[in-house]
Subunit: 314 residues, 2 copies
């Protein structure tokens, strides 16, 4: 199924800073593209943890058309600078703390080769903020993945104020070459794009459950049985363009947009206060608590891979 | 792929009031379940229009495991009362005007058999409002489909204040028997549930495009390449339950919910003013305007059917 050409990265070294869930997932994807991978993490158990994720990721990766990640190409080096010395690309997945990231880049920009790609997985600490102690802040770009990164195609590429156009383009090219779908985010807004959209939908979900309009289980079913199917195959704008019928988006704006605007005016409010938390926890437990995490996440991966395959082949 | 049992409705008569896009789609689905179907619409061209939709719907229906709709079981009767006289179920798909629907039900509740199911496809005029001139308002239930109704599984079942529990349950059973996924909506909120969720997400989409964060085409790609895949396989609550890792929804509430709440505080505002309309129209035209409507909607149907199949088989 994979139609990307990874010849340009094969055999090159990806350094993954931080061997948590996101870092391990990137490592799996890079290995599956034939890269050499070094994971840099002070955790003494990092090797065990990364290898467990490799094992979990392998069925999805092979089903998506990649090679199985080869652990023979995987190494570990706790010292960030040493690890970075022969990097083609550095994918940072450390703690979400501004001071950590600022110090890291200031330290390793000199240790890494001059043309190494410097990428951060951060979901919220912008390249502008992370790069303030760097000698050359033009080198740093955000490459924010969606969980699980070995499976979901999107990577949000978000340049900082000083990031060069060349670095941004190099990041886009790199992510394409490992089979991802990079999308360029032109402004460093909080939450970037996918998380903002997800939060907007979730606010209304929480409101509707709190109001007793629907249970958590039923609300999830509304989404999987309608909007999810729609949005897996066409985004919100294409969907409304088609809702307009042969008149397209102009007809949508004339006939359906007033209803949408009216829903905006009547949208619900929500907050994670203690009462709301308890209600949601109880209902989530009732809906999903009887199934172990590994089983639920395994099923999710299997279904997501099937959806990606179905859309690309249809 | 269809695993429903439609034996209980086979050969029975569905009367579809209104032969527009929604009515024609219901007709296609009911025929594909072996029902007799009468479409009631004063439009002299209604037969041509309904048969065109039958033709479009047939590949999706057969791919989903139904029989091809058999036009030999399809008839037309412009007079609502006559059409309703032998109805097992009446699915109303007339104009979205309260007076039209009020008058219709007052007129045909007597013409239809006493135990006929009375269902309205309305997306916004509640059963409470539609039934005010009925002798027995307990009979009417909303069965709101998602476009295209022959394909998307969800039906929002929304009882009015006076709808009996027995009628609501009968509606749920009927929709299941024709292969749909009915979900019960406990309160008659404007927009019910799916349209409220869709509107909430779209507001942030419009905001981000107006702000220049991303083009319409790129924003659609963000959704199809991440959230759409996720939500086709698991709803928002299950997704966040899994985002919490082995700690589940409790871990989500502790670690990730503050970020979501912060996105709520920073969510964008939007309005369909002339400037916004022009911007969106231009970008939608650039993204999709070069492909004819029939081709785009055909591709959507093919992909949506593939996604439904992939999820059910994975």
């Amino acid at each position: 199924m994979a139609s990307h050409n990874n010849e340009s990265v094969k055999g090159k070294r990806a350094v993954v800073i931080g061997g948590g869930v996101i870092g391990s997932s990137w490592a799996a994807l890079f290995l599956a593209n034939g890269m050499q991978v070094t994971v840099s993490d002070p955790d003494p158990d990092v090797e065990t943890k990364v290898k467990a994720v490799l094992k979990d990721a392998t069925p999805s990766l092979t089903e998506l058309g990649y090679n199985a990640p080869d652990a023979a190409n995987l190494s570990f080096e706790a010292d960030n600078s040493k690890a970075s010395s022969s990097a083609y690309v550095i994918q940072e997945c450390g703690p979400e703390r501004e001071d950590f990231k600022k110090d890291l880049w200031a330290k390793i920009e000199g240790a890494a080769p001059k043309d190494a790609l410097l990428l951060s997985s951060s979901s919220g600490i912008t390249a502008t903020k992370q790069s303030t102690s760097m000698h050359d802040p033009g080198r740093l770009v955000i490459g924010h993945p969606v969980n699980p990164p070995y499976l979901i195609p999107l990577v949000e590429v978000v340049p900082g104020e000083k990031t060069t156009k060349a670095q941004t383009e190099a990041a886009m090219t790199f992510y394409k070459s490992v089979g991802k779908t990079p999308v360029l985010v032109h402004k460093e807004l909080q939450g970037f794009v996918a998380n903002r959209l997800q939060s907007a939908l979730f606010k209304e979900c929480v409101y509707l459950v709190v109001q007793g309009v629907m249970t958590v289980a039923d609300l999830d079913q509304v989404v999987t049985e309608s909007l999810g199917i729609r949005w897996a195959t066409g985004g919100p704008f294409l969907s409304f363009h088609l809702s307009g019928g042969p008149g397209g988006f102009a007809a949508f704006l004339q006939h359906l947009a007033p209803g949408v605007e009216s829903n905006w005016k009547n949208a619900g409010d929500a907050t994670f206060d203690d009462k709301t938390k308890k209600l949601l926890l109880d209902q989530v437990a009732r809906a999903y608590g009887h199934t172990p995490y590994d089983q639920l996440s395994g099923t999710r991966d299997t279904k997501e891979v099937a959806v990606i395959g179905a859309v690309s082949e249809a």
